[in-house]
Amino acid sequence: MKIAHDVRSVRRRRIGRAVTHLILLGFVLLAAFPVILVFMNAFKARRAIFSAPLALPTRETFSLVGFETVFSRSNFPIYYLNSVTVVVVAIGFVVFFGAMAAWALSEYTFKGNRFMSIYLAIGIMIPIRIGTVSILRLMVALGLVNTLWSLIFVYTAQGLALTIFILSQFMAQVPRDLKDAARVDGASEYRIFGIVLPVVRPALATVAVFTMIPIWNDLWFPLILAPSGRTKTVILGAQEFLGQFVSDWNSVLAALSLAIIPVLALYLVFSRQLIVGLTKGALKQ
């Protein structure tokens, strides 16, 4: 009786596990299919794109004509350079300035600490896009329209809020002994900050990845602040190219592939960091 019951429950658990895998695989397929479809067809001749969209490129159907059009008719290399510049400089500012501010808020008790913490947290929930009209006026006044600096400043301001919030929590966990030992040795507060920074390196990396993705993917601010040919980012460049070449399917698929590859590569490299950061950040709330 007992054994029969056990056999049944083992079987039931096994079926349950199979169903779990089946559902998850189904969703993985749904998540990956559109991207795979684009990659597959980007390397096919026009006729094959339409006659057999679900087939892999074969020797007969293989073609790079889409990529050739993209590279001859648009400036993707420049767009890449612009995107990388904006992302790298903005991330540098966000991480370094954010770490400094987070350190001040988490380490020192001073009048106005609570006010500053709240003030700097406003940007977590209120999207910076709301201020677009004034941002554009400001950039015009500063002569920064159609420069990468306009994007860098906006993204830095936008990224700082969440960064300071997360880093303060990590910095508050740095052991007292470490800091006190340095203070007893007469180290300046700047020196101590320099000692603490490497200790929270994993948190810095997480915050960097976190901030990077929305900057790379943004369309709104490149469209409004820096739409000129010299300052287009990959996403804006791709968006305009796709709009112009709507009926040239080879080029559209090639341009989509070119826009996806860097983010996908970054994601696969940093996914662990990102997910750990996401889970930690959420637990804190």
Binding site: V38, P53, F93, F97, T156, L264
Partner: protein
């Protein structure tokens, strides 16, 4: 040894200065500036403005040239949010609970793959789905055909009655990863002993989920909802990419983000208007603020009492 005392310590100012300066100049100041501009009106050719009180708001909410567009965008935006909440949260919860059910092989690979769409640019996602749903390419039609349902196929993105739903679902496809990850975090945070003791008491997996796990992760639902709310009422890229500035067909996919863009920059049918643009942005600000405050006060308090 905490450094305390009331004397001014310059290093604190030095640490705070760069972040505060950039943040104030490029986020707080423009936010306040936009709110201020919504109370003004452009006069003359030079772009000077004069204070007009709440006249812009009155015009936006009641004038026959403005109000229909605004209410249409607001209504569509609410619909966009409702579809997200109804579809995205159950999918996120289902996937998170499957990922955390027992010791699952390949858990990390599943997680990585399932979160992937969230990393892609909205522009790219919009375009890919536009291709898939396109009657010219026929991929979606082919799939339905394979199931014997080819009659069901319609050019959903081009039809007034289905375009907004289709776009909402595309957006759900992209962003279900966020609720999934947050629910996942909540679920792995539940102590194992709690679950084991329930099993020992003979409770079924189903019962354990609804009676034990679900109440414990209920606070996550609040965070997810407020994040979705802010994201939805600030959305723009998807509609702009797939439907254009005019959010067609016939403005049926117009949401506040695209309406704001049109009012501010103008379009084929109308000149741009910065002060009315700022007025629309201020309405978006108030809506988002209302959502965030509702979460902070009402939801949090209710969940806290529920937990006790």
């Amino acid at each position: 040894m905490t450094v305390t005392g009331n004397r001014f310590r310059s290093y604190i100012a030095v640490f705070l200065l760069p972040a505060t300066a950039i943040y104030t100049m490029f986020l707080i100041y423009p936010l306040l500036g936009s709110l201020g501009l919504s109370l003004q009106e452009t006069v003359g050719q030079g772009g000077q403005t004069q204070f007009v009180g709440f006249a812009n708001f009155r015009r936006l909410l009641t004038n026959e040239n403005w109000a229909p567009g605004f209410w249409n965008a607001l209504g569509n935006n609410v619909y966009f949010f409702v579809i997200h909440s109804l579809v995205q949260n159950p999918i996120g919860l289902l996937l998170a609970s499957l990922l955390t059910a027992g010791k699952l092989r390949g858990q990390n690979s599943y997680r990585t793959a399932l979160f992937m769409p969230t990393m892609l640019s909205v522009v790219i996602v919009g375009f890919i789905w536009q291709l898939i749903l396109s009657p010219i390419w026929g991929v979606a039609e082919g799939f339905l055909g394979a199931l014997g349902l080819e009659n069901w196929f319609k050019p959903w993105l081009g039809l007034r009655e289905s375009a907004l739903t289709a776009l909402s679902l595309i957006s759900v496809w992209q962003f279900y990863g966020i609720p999934m990850m947050l629910f996942y975090t909540g679920l792995i945070g539940i102590p194992d002993e709690l679950i084991e003791s329930a099993y020992v008491d003979g409770a079924s997996g189903w019962k354990i989920f609804w009676r034990l796990k679900f109440p414990l992760i209920l606070p996550v639902l609040g965070i997810v909802t407020v994040l979705t709310f802010v994201g939805n009422f600030n959305a723009f890229d998807l509609i702009y990419t797939t439907q254009g500035t005019l959010a067609g067909p016939d403005f049926s996919t117009d949401i506040l983000g695209t309406y704001f863009f049109r009012v501010f920059f103008g379009h084929q049918l109308q000149l741009g208007n910065p002060t009315m643009g700022a007025t629309v942005a201020t309405m978006m600000f108030l809506i988002i603020l209302a959502g965030v405050l509702t979460y902070m006060f009402a939801w949090r308090r209710r969940v806290e009492t529920y937990e006790m």
